[in-house]
Subunit: 793 residues, 2 copies
């Protein structure tokens, strides 16, 4: 194990050192100004209470560190002509990224009204955390950002996601020591086992030991350096320490360390690209230890502030207090604004010269506005992968396996473009996408041994047993203008509920920002779903992610439950072409009846919802009963129930409706996909009973349809949170989603049926369920007539 510090190196001559320090002061000045000032941005007049915002909001603590890093990265970029973006894990340091992009000019180019003069400065300050202005966090509004950082933990996954397949890119990623305590961040250090120096870019993690969170110290700031060093060596990095509080010394140290790290990266890439070195390299990382609220007031109201948790947000929240205005004045004057900005309020030219130019500026790098770089995927015709369905239900197929064949060829067609990857927490094959591995391997830079299956340093299937990593990598990959699909066990996708939230919020805001170009949608395949968890059981049974998703803005979320392979193909194609959505696709992997030939599937998916006439006997007349279904298992059970009803009550007119696009159910006022009220009434009638078999929690269907005319006659069957390791059909039975319970409920709601008919059917159902229970308790599998059941059209 080695680690080095660079105390003896002095790479900066006095002139550049002075200028860099001044640039840093300028960034700090602008940061403090954003938090506090309403007016008098250059302090040309004596500071008064009236110049200060009435509500002081924001986070100072991490900001000077973020500024310090930015000025040093600028130097590295200029010196080496680097293609670099900056990920600010401590998103609370919003003022820093705004300040720096303003100083380098990219902010004013993006927002011309925030001009490079005194008036622009005033607007810059005022807008921060101000109604109608910009948020206090690094956000979509911030040029150069692909990472919000409001919810902590995902900086490094985003960084690696951005670096994959971007060989020239260097992603500088600041990780806060608070964030470093989160689970997602703690495992994301291992991303280096999935980064190939030959054709991926580099990530330079900078762990910023600020020392404190909101109130408590941080774990990593309070373990000895030998543990820290060992930890990051163990994670596979060479850690370099930059520690101190004297700015001039720290500038030299940081510059020397950054030089070393960039050299190491160059060597690693050179070895891989020119000399065929294929071992996993030991990448550099930097541990920067500096005081929280560095350069801020040392003491406020007799309490130590700089270097303590009291610097976390606004060091002096209450400016009415005696002496606080003067503290702020001294603090801001300590940066000597008159040396930084000319009379007009523009950054002095010799300082402005420190920033990179054009797209090399981190606030203007196109990778941070990935839509600019986005190329459409080359897609084969999904119809070519159709399962032959001569008549509905006559063949069986594994829907996700068929999807895997399509994805294999999508992968193949885009191998050269290097802009498509699949992500999964080790469930790629379990979810039946194994054919993809015929054209690309599983990404793996770790040791390989005989017996390993389809590992490859160049693989494009990314599997790590961390849903957080899969989601974070994919987000980073999409946000920098590429494409992907995330396959996950349905139950465990809840692990990234909160990450989905943040991404959906990001997309929602981007829709309101013209300069943010649309990016590829975030696509989920949820398989190994609640109804087929044969190896696992109750812990693996949870269809609630859909409920979670539909709370987000309708304009960014889509949910599809294709009932078979051909509809899944059609939906998949659609998702891969769509932009700025989160698409959730739920589909089973087990052999199941196939209902629609490709032509019908395309038509059905285009409509999103429709009558299955071949399964209905209402012949276009008003039906007596509507049997609706959404999801593969509910569809099968519904059709089986319809068959039984046809048998017992042939004269009963039953209409079968299948839903692929869940959002069709909602009113058009609530979701752009929502079916018009008349069309809905035409389908579901205004007054006939509807038995609705749904894949997930029944409440969701009520919630989506509560405004619909016939809602009072809607009876939904779905997952009632009853589960265990049992047979597939028994899972349906214990939740009342099976054909018998569906039929029973239909009969219960058909008030015109003669009572002897009702009794006959009820008796039949009781017998069948008893037979089922007896058989499975004895044989451990479903009755042959259930296993072999076929629709017989």
């Amino acid at each position: 194990m080695t680690s080095e510090t660079s105390h003896t190196l002095q790479p900066l001559d006095q002139d550049i050192l002075d200028k860099m320090h001044a640039y840093w002061r300028a960034a700090n000045y602008l940061s403090v100004g954003q938090i506090y000032l309403y007016d008098n941005p250059l302090l040309k007049q004596p500071l008064q209470a009236s110049h200060i915002k009435p509500r002081l909001l924001g986070h100072w603590g991490t900001t000077p560190g973020l500024n310090f890093i930015y000025v040093h990265l600028n130097r590295a970029i200029k010196q080496r002509d680097l293609n670099m973006i900056y990920i600010a894990g401590p998103g609370h340091g919003g003022p820093a990224l705004v300040a720096n992009t303003y100083l380098e000019g990219s902010y004013s180019e993006t927002y011309p009204e925030i001009s490079e003069d005194e008036a622009g400065l005033k607007r810059l300050f005022k807008q921060f955390s101000f109604p109608g202005g910009v948020p206090s966090h690094v956000a979509p509004e911030t040029p150069g950002s692909i990472h919000e950082g409001g919810e902590l933990g995902y900086a490094l996954s985003h960084a690696y996601g951005a670096a994959f397949d971007n060989p020239d890119l260097v992603v500088a990623c600041v990780v806060g020591d608070g964030e470093a305590e989160t689970g997602a961040l703690a495992t994301s250090w291992h991303s280096n086992k999935f980064l190939n120096p030959e054709h991926d870019g580099a990530v330079l993690p900078i762990l910023h030991l600020n020392g404190y969170k909101i109130a408590s110290p941080t774990v990593l700031a309070r373990i000895p350096n030998d543990e820290l060093e060992a930890l990051f060596y163990g994670y596979g990095y060479t850690p370099y320490f930059v520690e101190g509080d004297d700015p001039k010394q720290m500038h030299q140290l940081m510059a020397a360390t950054l030089d070393k790290a960039m050299e190491q990266i160059r060597h690693i890439q050179n070895d891989a690209r020119e000399h065929g070195v294929h071992l996993r390299p030991r990448w550099p990382m930097i541990i920067l230890r500096s005081p929280k609220g560095w350069t801020g007031p040392e003491e406020v109201d007799g309490k130590k502030t700089e270097g303590t948790f009291r610097s976390h947000q606004v060091p002096m929240g209450d400016m009415d207090k005696e002496g606080h205005v003067e503290i702020l004045n001294k603090w801001m004057q300590s940066y000597r604004p008159e040396e930084l900005f000319d009379d007009s309020g523009k950054l002095k030219a010799e300082l402005a010269a420190l920033a990179p130019e054009g797209d090399r500026r981190m606030g203007a790098n196109p990778h941070a506005n990935g839509g600019q770089l986005l190329q459409d995927l080359a897609l084969p015709d999904f119809r070519d992968y159709a399962v032959e369905v001569k008549k509905p239900g006559a063949t069986k197929g594994e829907a996700t396996r068929v999807m895997g064949k399509f994805l294999r060829d999508v992968m193949q067609k885009n191998l050269d473009a290097k802009n498509f990857r699949l992500f999964s927490p080790d469930e790629n094959n379990s979810n039946r996408w194994q054919d993809v591995l015929d054209v690309t391997g599983r990404t793996w830079m770790g040791e390989m041994i005989p017996g390993d299956d389809k590992l490859s340093k160049d693989g494009r299937v990314m599997e790590m047993l961390s849903e957080h990593q899969c989601q974070g990598w994919l987000e980073g990959y999409l946000l920098t203008g590429r494409h992907g699909f995330f396959s996950c066990y349905e139950a465990f996708i809840h692990i990234i509920d909160s990450m989905f939230n943040q991404h959906a919020k990001w997309l929602k805001i981007c829709n309101q920002i013209p300069w943010r170009k649309p990016i590829a949608s975030l696509n989920y395949l949820l398989s190994s779903h609640v109804w087929r968890q044969d190896h696992n059981g109750f812990s693996h049974q949870d269809p609630g992610f859909i409920d979670h998703v539909v709370n987000k803005k309708a304009e960014v979320v889509r949910v599809y439950l294709p009932p078979d392979a051909n509809t899944l193909l059609s939906v998949t194609d659609h998702c891969l072409r769509s932009r700025n959505y989160v698409n959730v696709v739920v589909a089973g992997k087990q052999a199941s009846p196939q209902w629609l030939d490709m032509e019908s599937a395309v038509k059905h998916c285009t409509a999103g919802i429709g009558v299955w006439e071949w399964a209905s006997n209402d012949n276009g007349q008003t039906p007596d009963l509507v049997m609706a279904c959404c999801g593969d298992v509910p569809t099968m059970e519904t059709l089986a129930a319809v068959k039984l009803l046809n048998m017992f009550v042939p004269e009963l007119k039953v209409r079968v409706i299948n839903v692929v696009d869940l959002m069709k159910l909602q009113s058009p006022s609530e979701h752009p996909h929502g079916l018009e009220e008349d069309a809905f009434d035409d389908l579901f009638t205004q007054d006939k009973p509807i038995i609705f078999a749904y894949h997930g929690y029944p409440m969701l269907i009520h919630r989506l349809t509560y405004r619909r005319t016939n809602h009072k006659n809607l009876h939904v069957h779905g997952f009632k949170e009853e589960g265990t390791t049992t047979t597939p059909f028994d899972m349906a039975v214990i939740n009342g989603l099976d054909r018998f319970h569906l039929m029973e409920n239909a009969v219960k709601n058909l008030h015109e049926l003669p009572s002897d008919k009702v009794s006959e059917i009820e008796l039949f159902i009781q017998q069948k369920l008893a037979e089922h229970h007896e058989y499975i308790r004895e044989h451990g599998q479903d009755l042959p007539e259930i296993r072999d059941w076929q629709w017989n059209g």
Copy 2:
């Protein structure tokens, strides 16, 4: 850095070595039997296809390793009279824990029909992953378990949670190398910075490097040992390696290593307890590297199986295939069952003697059935903390700060019992529970420096910036019979959505298991909520956890939204007394109007929902309009709207309803708290407009009430996913939850109002909103009349 292996030590003499090996074989035999056999449990007859289950389900891969560890822990327990429980991170190894608790006798004591004879063996085998039987994972049904492990990542947090305040307990925690890749697990190694050897127990982590997940290798199995060693040194442990595949050598090595680890633990505890050593110790951990599917078939169908991913589930899934029955037969015979079990099928006495006795058996340890040990908290009278409310709205108060005072004294009263802790991702003070720190500190075993705030090695407030850790620790603490409360920012509680799921599922199953005694409820305070995220903004605004929670079984979830401090006190008291629930409490921390004096608060909370007569003017008659509210900000806005309505239309009869217990809204058929239909109609009328102001997503209210008579007249206002950093009142405005929008919607639905009155009100609203917008854009804060608004009863 040091690490040691113990190659040279041979602590086991031949006799004990042979016996331990035999015991291990017995456990492996029983494990294989569970996965495969339907009959012929002792292989007394030649094995035939008919003896084999028709559906083969389960996970073999991790099982022999779990068995190996169990037999060695048994030896350690007996030798040192240890009080030990076993947490099986690889929950997929269900057969191992069932096998071992069966061998030690605790299983048959718990389930007498699974007797210690051939008939019992047959039932033991058959029930596994069989309908009506036991799940394939370690589960609530498994004696000795507090950890399901279906969803991976929480083993070590659970282990530490169990160890806190249990000085005599040793929690052996097996961490799978798949699980080790998850975020939650990766950060949970740092739990050692929060464990005090003086009065907490010990955790012995055993990282089991099996090598593979479902299909891919694991990260930690494919980094060199020097990185592994450094990583765990960096995490603060001394790692000991136990590596190999030769069972006899491995037994010696494991025994020697376990001896060393137990000695080290004893020394650490002795130093802290007897010699006043207060430094954070370096705890031992074991890295066990053994083949996946160890002792299983070397090869199946020409493919290497033992030691590869093909052993993950059932090595031969298809027993119809040529030769598979014979492979199974050879495999099972390789354990030589005739040497292990006597003729009756009972484990031979000399082997049974290896197991600990009574409660020392890990399957019978009362800590793993925490309800057995649970003591009620000593609670002060919450009424003593009442905020004085002479008339509604006359005083302001910070609800969660008042709650903090109550919790301070709860803490105080139970300091000696050491059975109450608070958990928070560094948000204890931010959520205003700081008074608790007057009686106990923040738990901290890391370095302390001047300027730190209320850190203490003996602290009972646990803060780490990881919601996963807070949740995992708390679960472990509760499951071993103690009490706690988790305070979290509302938006970020989604980080543990999936952990909540698993805990709720655990509780649901426990309700069906008579021997599982009730445990204290898992209590959440969600504060810093969506309506008051002044420092943050959109990323911090998400009230959807409630939606997620109510998908779980009604019998285990409760949701409370007290509108002020006194109601919050009453709810808090109730939560601390309740058992086997998950209680979600949402309350604000900002200074807000106080509505109810303590007597009224208790009455209101007991009812859970009710008319606020002092705010209504229907005087017990049928109202013209119902204004309902749930949550603190919605309550304030509703009351303000009512005031405006009173002013404009004094003759209008308005009824104000406040909801504390959200589940009151649901039908009694769906939730035990649900209001009876008649009572609901009495409150909400059958046909009058209801304007419902709700804290969260409006859809939830529709979903809970869609069956109610007057649902068609229900208009819900809530969070519409519109947010940013803006003023408190503007947050309400942009989501339409403010007094003006509430009033506007009321007027819109009061069809009898004269049109000139309607126009007058609409004009007023437009003016007010314009005034608001103008003011906040200019001043950055709300209009004085909004900020200073007071109910004037």
